[in-house]
Subunit: 490 residues, 2 copies
C-alpha cells in the first residue's frame, strides 16, 4: 500500500458497459433462474457449468491470422501465448464440452446452463457487456421431436415464472422452408440468398410492396435515399411474398399456404413436413395454438439455424420511453443448428436449443408488477445504550430463531435519528427500541415503520395522535408483537 499513496487515487467506477446489481435485483434473478432450472430439470435436462474462460480457438469466431482477436469478445494471451477469451454465449462452450466429453455423456445429451456471458461491444442504454443467459439444448437428436420438446418446455417455463397463458406466444418457423422458397425463386447464389434474407428482415417495415421493390430494382426510402435492389425478375418475388404472407387462421391453413410457396422444392417440402410434425406432437401434448403456433414471420435467426427456429414473444403492451404503446416483444429464441460440434470432431452432430433472455424476462415481470413491488427490509433493533450491545444481539438472535429477518444497528449509536434514518434506508418494517427506562420496566418499544410512514404522509396532527404506530410490550412478547406487525404487510 505504501507505494500507492504517492499515485493518484484510483477511480471508483465500473468499467464502461458494466454495472452492479443490488439486493432484490440479484435475488429476483436468482429465483427466476432457479425456477427455470426446475422446469428444465423436470424435462430431463442436466446442469452443465463450464468456466467463463475458453480458448479463442474453441470459441471459433476468429481467424488465426488476426493479430488481436478481440472483435466482439474480451481476449488476452496467456503465458504460453495462447489466446483466451471470455465466452460470448453458452452455445459455443456446449459444442466444445460435448466434443471433449462425448464418450462420457449420454446420447442424446440434454443439458441446461445459466450464467453470465460477455460481449466486447459498444454498450448502450440497457445494453451491457456482461449479461445472463439461460439455455437448454439437446445434442445428438436429429428428430424434430427434440425441437417440439424445447418449444413445450419454453411454454411451460414462461408460465412457471409468472407469464400467464395469453400473454405470450411461442412462434415456430423453419429454415428449410425458406431454403425451399429460395429454390422456388431460382436463387442459388449464396450472396444473392443472403440479400434475399436481408430483404425479408425488412418486411415489417416496408411491407409487401416494399419487399417487391427491394427484390427487384430498388426503392426510395423515407429519407429520400435510393436503396439498390437485389435485381430479381418480378415473378421471382412471388414465392417469397407467398411465404411472408402465409400465416393463416390455423396451423393447418398456414401449412397449406407454405406448401404453395415452396413449389416443387424437396428441401422446402421437408421443412413443411417438419413443421407439420412439430404441430402434431405439440397438439398431442395439449399445447394449443394459443401457446405455440407456426408463424413464417419469425425470420430472426433464419440465417444462423439449419432447421426449425423458435421465438417466444410477450404479447401484452407496455409504454416505451416516449409513452407510446408497444408490444413487449421477444424474450427467448432458439432453433436447430446441426454443425457446431463438427468443427471439433469432423462428425456432424444434430443439435437444437433455446436461450432465454433472463434480464428481459425480469424486466417484463417487473413491468407487469409481478415481482419487486413488495421488497421488505429486516427488522432493525436500535442501540440506545452501547454498553448493552449483548442484550440487543440477544434480541436479534431471538427474532432470527423465530425465522424473522433481523439485525442490530452497527453504526455509531450516538444520534438516534440516524438509526431511524438507517432503518428507513433499509426499508425496515419494524424498529425495536429498548432504552434504560424500558430495560428497567422489562418492556420494549416496537415501532411499526410502515404505518408510521403512512400516517406521516396522510394524516393530520389529530389523526396522528389517535393512531399510534408504536407499541410498548413486555420484553417477553418481543417476537410475538413483531410477527403480528409483519403479518399485516405480507
Amino acid at each position: 500500500m505504501a507505494k500507492q499513496k504517492k499515485s493518484p487515487r484510483p477511480k471508483a467506477a465500473t468499467p464502461k458497459g458494466f454495472r452492479d446489481y443490488f439486493g432484490a435485483e440479484v435475488t429476483e434473478r436468482a429465483e427466476m433462474l432457479q425456477t427455470i432450472a426446475g422446469v428444465y430439470h423436470q424435462y430431463g435436462f442436466d446442469a452443465l457449468e463450464s468456466s467463463g474462460v475458453e480458448t479463442v480457438e474453441a470459441l471459433g469466431k476468429f481467424l488465426p491470422d488476426v493479430d488481436r482477436p478481440n472483435e466482439g469478445v474480451f481476449a488476452w494471451q496467456d503465458e504460453d501465448d495462447q489466446w483466451m477469451a471470455l465466452r460470448y454465449d453458452l452455445t459455443a462452450p456446449l459444442a466444445r464440452v460435448y466434443a471433449q466429453h462425448r464418450n462420457d455423456l449420454p446420447l442424446p445429451y440434454r443439458r441446461y446452463a445459466m450464467g453470465p456471458v460477455w460481449r466486447n461491444e459498444k454498450p448502450g442504454p440497457g445494453r451491457y457487456r456482461q449479461f445472463y443467459q439461460c439455455d437448454a439444448d439437446t445434442v445428438g437428436a436429429g428428430s424434430v421431436a427434440a425441437d417440439a420438446e424445447i418449444c413445450a418446455m419454453l411454454s411451460d417455463t414462461l408460465e412457471k415464472v409468472g407469464i400467464p397463458r395469453g400473454d405470450y406466444v411461442v412462434r415456430v418457423n423453419n429454415r428449410k422452408v425458406l431454403n425451399g422458397v429460395l429454390e422456388a425463386m431460382g436463387v442459388s447464389d449464396e450472396a444473392q440468398a443472403a440479400d434475399v434474407l436481408r430483404t425479408i428482415d425488412k418486411f415489417d417495415k416496408v411491407g409487401e410492396s416494399g419487399v417487391r421493390e427491394l427484390l427487384g430494382k430498388g426503392r426510395l426510402d423515407a429519407s429520400g435515399a435510393y436503396i439498390d435492389g437485389v435485381g430479381l425478375a418480378e415473378a421471382q418475388a412471388e414465392p417469397v411474398i407467398a411465404f411472408l404472407t402465409s400465416k393463416g387462421a390455423s396451423n393447418a391453413e398456414t401449412l397449406v399456404n407454405l406448401k404453395a410457396a415452396i413449389g416443387e422444392s424437396a428441401v422446402g417440402a421437408e421443412g413443411v413436413a417438419e413443421l407439420q410434425e412439430i404441430a402434431a406432437l405439440l397438439d398431442a401434448q395439449g399445447y394449443g395454438e394459443d401457446r405455440i403456433v407456426i408463424d413464417p414471420s419469425v425470420v430472426r435467426g433464419l440465417g444462423y439455424y439449419t432447421g426449425p427456429v423458435f421465438e417466444a414473444e410477450l404479447t401484452f403492451e407496455i409504454l416505451d420511453e416516449k409513452g407510446r404503446k408497444r408490444q413487449f416483444g421477444s424474450v427467448a429464441g432458439g432453433g436447430r443448428y446441426d454443425d457446431l460440434v463438427k468443427r471439433f470432431t469432423g462428425q456432424a452432430v444434430p443439435a437444437t436449443g433455446v436461450s432465454i433472455g433472463v434480464d428481459r424476462l425480469l424486466a417484463a415481470l417487473r413491468e407487469k408488477g409481478r415481482i419487486g413491488s413488495n421488497v421488505q427490509g429486516p427488522v432493525v433493533v436500535t442501540v440506545m445504550d452501547k454498553d448493552r450491545m449483548a442484550d440487543y444481539q440477544a434480541m436479534v438472535a431471538e427474532l432470527r430463531s423465530a425465522g424473522l429477518r433481523a439485525e442490530v444497528y452497527l453504526g455509531n449509536p450516538k444520534n438516534f435519528g440516524n438509526q431511524l434514518k438507517y432503518a428507513d434506508k433499509r426499508a425496515s418494517p419494524v424498529a425495536v427500541i429498548e432504552g434504560g427506562d424500558e430495560h428497567e420496566k422489562g418492556v420494549v418499544q416496537i415501532k411499526d415503520l410502515i404505518l408510521g410512514a403512512k400516517i406521516a404522509e396522510e394524516a393530520s396532527l389529530e389523526e396522528w395522535k389517535d393512531r399510534p404506530s408504536q407499541y410498548e410490550v413486555p420484553r417477553g412478547d418481543l417476537v410475538t408483537k413483531v410477527r403480528e406487525i409483519l403479518d399485516l404487510y405480507q
Copy 2:
C-alpha cells in the same frame, strides 16, 4: 464456416487450469449457495452482484508502470488502452462498489456476494483458475459487535449447510494482540516485524524451541540446511512464546494469558479487550466455546487484517491421498480490514467480513456422505414405434404434470438395447415401454431399473425368474405405478 474447413480442427479442451462441472456438481453447489444466502439474508445482509470484470486500477494490485499487469490476474487492454481484469476475489470489488455508491447505500452496509473469481496462477491438483467464493461483509461498522455477528453467522451457516455442531469450530484471534506482543518484544522495525510473523507461521512445524531458535540466531532444519534467525535477544522471544502458547481451557483463561503476553502495550490491551467483548457478545447469544472460541494459534491472515481475525475449521478426520488420517481443516476465513475503501476516497472506512470456500465445504459434505449419494435420473419413456412419438410425448407430459422428472428417448430408436443403455447412463430409476402389442391391449410395461440392476448383480438365474422387475399395467395406471416404484427409492 467455409474458411475454417481449410484450417486444422480446433482442439476441444478447456484452457489449462479450468474445468467443467456436470449435473449434481452444479446443482449441489447452487443449493449450498442458496442455503448460505438464506442465512446471510436473515442476518440483514443484502445481495450484491458486481460484474466479473473490473479496471485493474480499481482492483489495485498493480503499479501503473508495469507493462503487462497479468501477475496473478487475467488482464487485457480495452479499446481505450485501459487495463481491465477478471476479479480475483469479492472483497476488492466491494471496496470499489462501496466507494462508488456510498451515497445511496445504508451505513453500515451489510452485503453478501457469491460467484466465480479468477486467478492467473499455476494450476495444480484440485487448484483451479476459476472457483467460487461466497462472502459476507459489513462496511462502515467499527464496533467489534460487527465481528461477533460475522462469527455467529458463520457458525449458523455451517450448521445450516449440514456440518453438525461438534464437527466444526470458529477460532478467533486479533491482529492488535500480535502488535502488542511485538511492542512487548521491542520490535518496531516493519521488516523485522514481518520476519517475526513468518516465524510465528512456522510454530506448528518447529514447535516452541524451534521458534526460539528462529527468533534468535537461527536453526538447522531437518534437511541439514541452516536457516538464518531474526537475530533477537533471547529475552525478546518470551512475549511471542507466551502468545503462541496462551490458549487455555476456557476463553477466560486464554484472555488472562494474552494479557500477560502483551505486557504494557496499549494496542495489545485494546486487542485483548476486543476479544473479551466478542466473547461476551457471543456468550450472550448462546454461542458456546464449543462453537466459537478465542484461539491465538489462528495466524493465517494476521498480516493482512487490522483487528479481529477468524477462521472456521472442520474438526473431523478424513483420509488424505496417502490414506493417512488428517483433520479436514479450514473452510472459511475472514477478519477486519479497515483501509480498503480509503484507497478510493481518502477516508478510512472500517470493514469486516468472511469468505467461505464453497468448493471445499462441498468436498467436506461429500466426504461425510451428506450430499451426492443419491442422485436419481429421469424416468425414460422408450420409443418402440417412431411413428407414435406423439403418444410417448403424451406419456412424459402426464408424468411431468404429476411432478415427476421424465423424458422420452430422442436418439435413433432402431436398436432397443441402446435405449436401455441410455437409461442406464442417465441413472434412470424407471423405463416405460409400449410396443404395438401393448398399445393394442391398452397396457404399458414399466421396468424398475434399480431393482433390475440389483437382481442382475446378485441373483442366480432361478431367483431372477422369481423376482420380476418389470410390470405390465393398464395405460391409465402409468403415473400411479411409476410413482409407486420411485417411492421405494426415495
